[in-house]
Each structure stands twice: as C-alpha cells, then as structure tokens.
C-alpha cells in the first residue's frame, strides 16, 4: 500500500449527530492519510479530528493541511488533543491570504468570545505555513496545493507517492455560469489537482434539483461531482461534504444517482464517504 486514507468526518457545513446520520456520520471534514513510511498527514480539522487526536501517539511531527478556514474545516482544531501536549510538533498548512497570516486568522477561532483560551496558551510547538506555489514533500509524499473555486481562499490538495495519488477537494463549485463540458481542462478549476488520480475525494453537497437555488454557494451537485471526476479521468470518486440535511437514506439516493451518471470511464463506481471508511491506494 502506498497511501492509506481514513475518513474521520465527511459532513459539510455543520456537525450533524443523530439517528438519521448514523451510517455516514455527522462529524465535519477530517481525513487521515498514512504515508508508506508511517508518517501522518491530516486533511482538514473539522470535528472529526477530535476522535483522531484522541488516538494519536506522540511519535513524530503531525501535519495538518487545511483547505480553507470556514468553520466546519477548523472547528475541531481547538479540541485536537496533540494541540494540548507539550511534546507535540505540529505543522499547520493552509491557504495564503493577502492581508493576514494563517496564524492570525486561525487565532480568531482560538480567542474570546468564541473560545475561552488564546492560541498562545496551547503548549504544543506549532508552526504555521502558507502552502507554497510549487510542489513540496512531507514524509516522501509529494504535495501540490492549488486554489479552487469556493468563497474565500480555498485549496485543493493532491498527494502522490510511489505512483499512487489522491486528490482532496472537499468544497468546490467547479463551474459558475458556464458548462463544464464546454471547457478545456486547463480552464476547469481544480482539474490539474485531480487529473488521473487513483482516488478523488470531492464535494457533493447538493442534489441536481437543489443546486439551481444555491448557485454561488461554492458547492457541487452530484452531477458536477461526477462530471468533474470524469473530465479529470479519475479512477475512483468518493462523494464528500454531505449536506447537514441529508439523511443516510438520502445519501444512498445520491450515490445511486452518481452511479447512474457514471459513464464507465472507470469500472469503479462512485461511493459516498462515511466515517471509518478506509481507502487503500494501490
């Protein structure tokens, strides 16, 4: 196995516990990626990161790669156990902003009145990094980050090692007011990040009937997710960022619809992310 990814949270917008979401889960986005050398990368810090943090042993640096700073992607950070251990070396990567540093922006969520403590009160050794423009490496994994279409500075990530690759674009509206089918690949937001990956974890917040009243909210319909994945020629599509109003049964229906739309470019039909799902890349 080159990379192994485990889903700790895949709900969009708002944590949604309850009997209607037991199978797919109600925690907001967090994906753990284990590298071939035993390293660990964490994609986003939604509420799913709390359970992950409780199981992490202090056995090396922890890297958290944030796609953006909307609350559903960072709200778990304050309750991430390694943050509160002095022996943790924590690296937080995120999108650059023209005005404020990543640390300053995250500190807003780590300060009164939103939180009783300040970021400076946390004992861990934390380093904040703006993602670089060029490819960089962590634990032998080549990482690319590029801005994608979503309100505010937002990234998609591509992780690649030993010929395997995973793309993570949890919040994404790939086209606005134009047809995806009409665009050359280089004009499709996020295309280079997703092109020909083994696994694409991608936004699928809306049904096709919901999307027209939510244009510009920064999310995909199931048709967008499938069409984007097919334009990028990915092997496997994992539907992510389930709407908080979507019950398990309704997510099942979206998966059925995605499979109907899947035209067989890859024999592996789309699946929906659920908490505990483990993806082993070849």
């Amino acid at each position: 196995v080159a990379l192994e990814a485990r889903i700790w949270g895949c709900r969009g917008s708002l944590p949604t516990p309850g009997e209607a979401t037991v199978r797919y889960g109600g925690n907001t986005p967090c994906v753990e990626v284990r590298t071939p050398t035993g390293g660990r990368l964490i994609l986003d810090a939604g509420t799913g990161i709390k359970q992950l943090g409780a199981r992490l042993e202090p056995d090396g640096p922890v890297h958290v790669l944030l796609t953006h700073l909307h609350l559903d992607h960072v709200e778990g950070l304050r309750f991430f156990a390694p943050f509160w251990r002095a022996d943790t070396e924590l690296h937080i990567w995120g999108p650059p902003s023209p005005l404020h540093s990543l640390e300053e922006r995250i500190a807003r969520a780590f300060s009164p009145p939103l939180f009783p403590l300040e970021l400076s009160d946390t004992p861990a050794r934390v380093t904040f990094h703006d993602v670089p423009h060029e490819t960089w490496e962590i634990d032998g994994v080549r990482i690319d980050a590029q801005p994608v279409s979503h309100p505010g500075p937002t990234l998609g990530y591509r992780l690649a090692v030993n010929g395997s690759s995973l793309a993570y674009i949890p919040d994404h509206e790939p086209v606005l007011g134009v047809e995806l089918a009409d665009l050359e690949p280089e004009w499709i937001s996020g295309h280079a990040i997703a092109a020909e990956v083994d696994v694409l974890v991608h936004d699928c917040q809306f049904s096709e009937s919901e999307y027209p009243s939510r244009v510009g909210w920064g999310h995909s319909s199931v048709a967008h997710a499938v069409q984007f994945a097919q334009r990028a020629e990915v092997d496997r599509l994992v539907l992510f960022h389930h709407d908080p109003d979507r019950s398990d049964t309704a997510v099942d229906s979206l998966v059925e619809r995605a499979c109907e739309l899947w035209d067989g470019t890859s024999p592996t039909t789309p699946v929906a992310a659920c908490e505990g799902l483990t993806l082993q890349l070849p």
Partner: protein, 137 residues
C-alpha cells in the same frame, strides 16, 4: 502540478464573470497572452473568440489598429490594456480601434491588473464600450 496546465483560479473566475456580462470584456494572462474575450467584445473586435483563439501579446496588439483621438497611431505603451499589463496599474482611455471586421469604432477602455496576492500578478482584465461619434448623430 508538474506537467499539467492549469489557468490561475483568478483568470478562471474572471472568464466566468466575463461570460455573464453584457459589457465587452477582454482578458490576458501575466505574459500578455489573450486568453478570452466575451460575446459583447466579439461585436466590437469584429471576430468571435472561437475564430480568433488565444494569441500572444504581440499578436493581438498588432491585429487591432489603434489610434488616438486625433487620428495618430497609438503607441502600444499608451494602450490602457498594455499599461495594466506592463506597468501593473489601472488605466483608462478613449481611442479609435479598427476591428478585425475592418470597422473603425470609437471606444472607451478601462483596464485593471489582476493580482491573486500583492506579489502574484496573474493577468489583466479590460472592459470597453463603444462610444457615440459625431457620425452617429
């Protein structure tokens, strides 16, 4: 991403915006390559973008004959779009342009550089309007 072409998101969003506007809009990347103009611009430039296609800076700068209001040839460095590209500052001007259909039109141009961050110049967007001339009266 190594080996994979991708336009900057700011250009992608600018093109999506332009495709929804009734105002003629022209977009170039940081190297000055014309990457898109919309349907209202096609009316003024005299050729569809599908026909013209993307073209390098020297290509589009020479294809459209530009004159100052007094009819003298307009040096490239005085074109609002060129100012936005080369000096990376906004510019506005009124000029005569002969499009690819051979028609001479009086136009106003407002051009602005596109920065994705204070140091990340990604291109230029120019909006332009055809102005009434004494002949129209």
């Amino acid at each position: 991403v190594e080996g994979r072409a991708q336009k900057h998101l700011a250009l992608i969003l600018a093109r999506e915006l332009a495709s929804q506007l009734a105002t003629a809009t022209f977009i170039a990347d940081a190297r000055g390559e014309l990457v898109f103009y919309n349907e209202p611009a096609e009316e003024i430039l005299g050729r569809t973008f599908a026909e013209a296609g993307a073209m390098p800076a020297e290509g589009w700068a020479s294809q459209f004959r530009l004159e100052a209001l007094d009819g003298e040839p307009l040096p490239m460095e005085q074109m609002p779009a060129a100012i936005a590209l080369m000096q990376q500052r906004p510019a506005h001007g009124k000029l005569w342009m002969t499009g690819l259909d051979g028609q001479r039109r009086l136009i106003s141009v407002t051009a602005a550089p596109l920065f994705a961050s204070p140091t990340d110049f990604v291109g230029m967007i120019a909006l332009f309007w055809q102005e009434p001339t004494p002949d129209d009266a």
